[in-house]
Symmetry: C2
Subunit: 305 residues, 2 copies
């Protein structure tokens, strides 16, 4: 799978960084794209990328602040003209997202040419879209705000070919059946497939956080993830200030990455006060002092896992 | 005065052109900026220009289509952080603009730190902001849509110095009084000032149109203007199609410029199908065939008058 950042600034865009939006490519499991948050000008950023609006099947909104959703009406309406024709789209977000979408469309006389489903969330919930599991948990940001833990499907364990051959089963179509099903039939007898293959292998896990100060559900979302996307609005100075604004300081995020045993952290939503040069220098300094695997991202940073 | 274009595409942004937004600098009359329409990412475009959001005193919306207003919530909220502190802002637009602004602000938990006044228009109206007159007239675009004719203040006519000296009035503070007032006093007698100066000189006139197919009020708005900003969604081919979508074809606009005796036309809102190169070539071809003064504009084109 692959994550691409279309906006990495906080609150306001800067000359170098747009406000929040993240694309998750589900390849090789599915060809769809999922979008997380849609800051203003997300559709403009996408114009300069190979992703097409019509490929987006789901949009997840972490919270209703403008720097996370002001680009949503534009993405929804432009999608009608860029391959979205008839392909359904699901929007998941906090209570209020339905009114936001419907009122913006109605007041601007907009008509979509595809079915739009809106799911409003007001508490912890476990969702399932095709083969993907999505755990949604509330964060602590002063307004309703959620994190999304996305678990890719498991893949069947490796076949024990020696064991199968010993039973007289030669490579062929039956192997695929044994790999993907619980039982199989051979020479008139039904076998339990599990002794002939390794345990299922969990697909990659990625957690994408909305804005938050440290809170308990962060650990549930992040635990043992391959990668998490987390805000790090303040990357220097005193962390009391960050938390008083319901935001995270870099120290909070490094602690979470370590405590939750996360393989890699992609840190975004850096305050608009920082230039690209500031960020590169601060990243270098922090990396010299911690073994935790992380990076500060910028617009169009992409990460495969 | 000066006009700057932040977006010149129609319907959808392209890689080269954003959706609609136009800034009008009122210098030398006032230091304020007026904005006409606010397509998505207008605040991003402004970041790369010397204009500051805090200098914007009025925003005029021609109509409620997304390519003309999806950037409005972002401009309003970001203005709180970019010099807009306490300086009032007036938004003028069709009925629905108040709900659009208020619902977007409320649903995104946004609070402005300056007074916001919203004026909704549902018919022809003549407005006056400081010394400027603004004539608002309805156009024909399938949805309520308006054009704005902005008339800069008149400046006093030139003094007839010879006539004043003949009366015994030498250059001094009294000259300024004669220039700016209807009467003046000299040696105990009250004089009518008008015989001692030329007629008032009308300030520049600019008309900014919303989307429209040809209609009667275009002539009222455009007549004898120094410059008009007009949509020209279709710049080639058959004009029947343009008009059937309630849009203008280049032939319509050239005819208007000529019939209304407009000094110069700035043509924008060109269909997103056209590249910058297409536009340059078509402009060259048309200019070789007409004496009408016009230009197709692109993002950041600026025009002084």
């Amino acid at each position: 799978m692959e994550i691409t950042f279309f906006g990495t600034s906080a609150g306001l865009p800067t000359k170098e960084r747009h406000t929040q939006s993240i694309a998750l490519s589900l390849e090789p499991y599915e060809t769809d794209i999922w979008l997380f948050d849609v800051g203003e000008a997300t559709q403009h950023q996408i114009l300069h990328h190979s992703i097409k609006l019509g490929k987006i099947s789901h949009i997840f909104i972490t919270h209703m602040h403008g720097d996370h959703i002001f680009g949503l009406p534009g993405v929804l309406t432009s999608r009608s003209f860029q391959g979205g024709d008839s392909k359904p789209l699901t929007v998941v977000g906090p209570v209020g997202i339905k009114a936001f979408v419907e009122q913006n469309l109605a007041l601007t006389h907009s008509h979509l040419n595809y079915p739009l489903h809106i799911i409003e969330i007001n508490q912890s919930i476990d969702l399932s879209f095709n083969q993907f599991q999505v755990k949604v948990r509330p964060l602590n940001h002063g307004v309703p705000c959620f994190g999304y833990r996305v678990e890719a499907p498991s893949t069947p364990g490796k076949l024990d070919v020696d064991k199968l051959k010993a039973l007289g089963i030669q490579p062929g179509p039956l192997y695929q059946q044994i790999k993907t099903q619980d039982t199989f039939e051979f020479e008139g007898r039904i076998y339990d497939a599990s002794p002939f293959k390794g345990p299922n292998k969990q697909g990659p896990v990625v957690s994408i956080f909305g804005d938050t100060k440290p809170c308990e559900s962060q650990f549930i979302l992040a635990e043992n993830a391959d990668v998490i996307v987390h805000e790090s609005t303040y990357i220097e100075g005193d962390k009391t200030r960050a938390n008083s604004y319901h935001h995270s300081h870099i120290d909070d995020v490094l602690q979470l990455l370590s405590a939750a045993n996360v393989k890699h952290g992609l840190l975004t939503h850096l305050s608009n006060r920082y230039t690209i040069e500031d960020i590169a220098q601060i990243e270098k300094d922090i990396k010299s002092k911690t073994p935790v695997s992380f990076q500060f991202v910028r617009d169009y940073t992409s990460y495969s896992f």
